[in-house]
Amino acid sequence: MSATLKAVVMGCSAGGMSALRTVLADVRKDFCWPILVVCHTGSEDVTTFCDLIGMASTLPVREARERHLAQAGIVHVAPTGYHLLVEQGGRFSLSVDERVAFARPAIDVLFDSAAGVFGGGLIGVVMTGANNDGAAGLKRVRERGGIAIVQDPASAEAATMPQAALDIAGADHCVPLKGIAPLLNRLCQP
């Protein structure tokens, strides 16, 4: 079952909103995988955050709802103050467990759980940020056969997070911000 499930998970922190707007503006309109997002800096008011990203995005952007299914062609954003996880079958669950890498939602938590569900059908994307959340999660994505994309630290508003991902997880693709959407459009086929 999990072999047929596919998704993109994206993580970012400082500079994340602008990076997400750039990437999602260039994603194909008929993009047919779900996109799951954790952005630390965007989580103060997730509704407003979704609206701001949504204005730039070709795809609808919504808060991820507990127990609901990750849907193809929708960008799902982790809600304020909760870790976002994916359960078998591709449904969301939430947790208020301890912060991970000082963050809740944490990128590592989403990536780790998604890796277990989507396996080789998962693409993990780590972008701009000023801490190392996401690196351990991206490693798990690769261990379970998924593809790792890391924003070239040189093109990132904050280089720490993509650099940590490269150091700890490595990457299948390391591209500048503008190169991420074309790459996703190419990799994510029906």
Binding site: Y82, L85, E87, S93, S95, D97, E98, D112, A115, G116
Partner: protein, 277 residues
Amino acid sequence: MARSEIEDVEVELFARALQLRHGYDFSHYAPASFKRRVLNLASNTGCRTITELTSRLLREDALLPAVIAGLSVPVSEMFRNPSVFRALRDEVFPVLDSYPVINIWQAGCAFGQEVYSLAILLEEAGLYERCQIFATDFSDAALVRAQEGIFPTRDARAYSENYLAAGGKRSLSDYYHARYEFMKLDERLQRNVTFANHNLVCDGVFCEAHLILCRNVLIYFTDVLQDHALSLFRNSLVRNGFLCLGNRENIDFASSARHFVAVNARERIYRKHADSA
């Protein structure tokens, strides 16, 4: 097989051992966060693998309380999501006021931050004397902590801000004594509180409640167990009794949800249907 796939197997064996050896059933916990907790627990108890933890769990009775504490919901804060407490005060308390005796059940009280928050608001609304509050958790270690009512002083500022945002009428510092790095809540706040062990998985109805608070507990349950807990709440509530869940919880997939009607959907405050027995 990748390391995390092996861990998936280990988690299942751990859960099975916990059930066979100690009678605790975690089979209907949402697997993704359960796995994270088991991994944390293994690391916090100095075990290199989950299998090592399982082995110790089977042979060391003394380890059980730490295991149960590690698998229960640990994190909260006072007046978390202040708007919920404001809604309770403005929309629920006036109804509670019509009862001569008010029974409140906080299910999954963890370290007690929410019990004390609620006690303070009830006190300020002049309802506390008529209240009997049952604060339950399945972790004895958590209940001991809750009863102590001692929290790190570094949290005091955030708690105070929440308290004021929740519509608190005084200063939160009126309710605690701070000494060095710890604050202890006024013991008078627990004069009508009963702390007791109760496990939503296997324990039944024990009171007739006018209000049940169970915030961010059911998010760790699968649909089946969530539905079971909602049914337990339904059977524990008086006619038109109130239920308050966490502010991102979703009961759309539970058949017991039909017995509840949202009175404040945003804050996840429900009432038991009038015609629900």
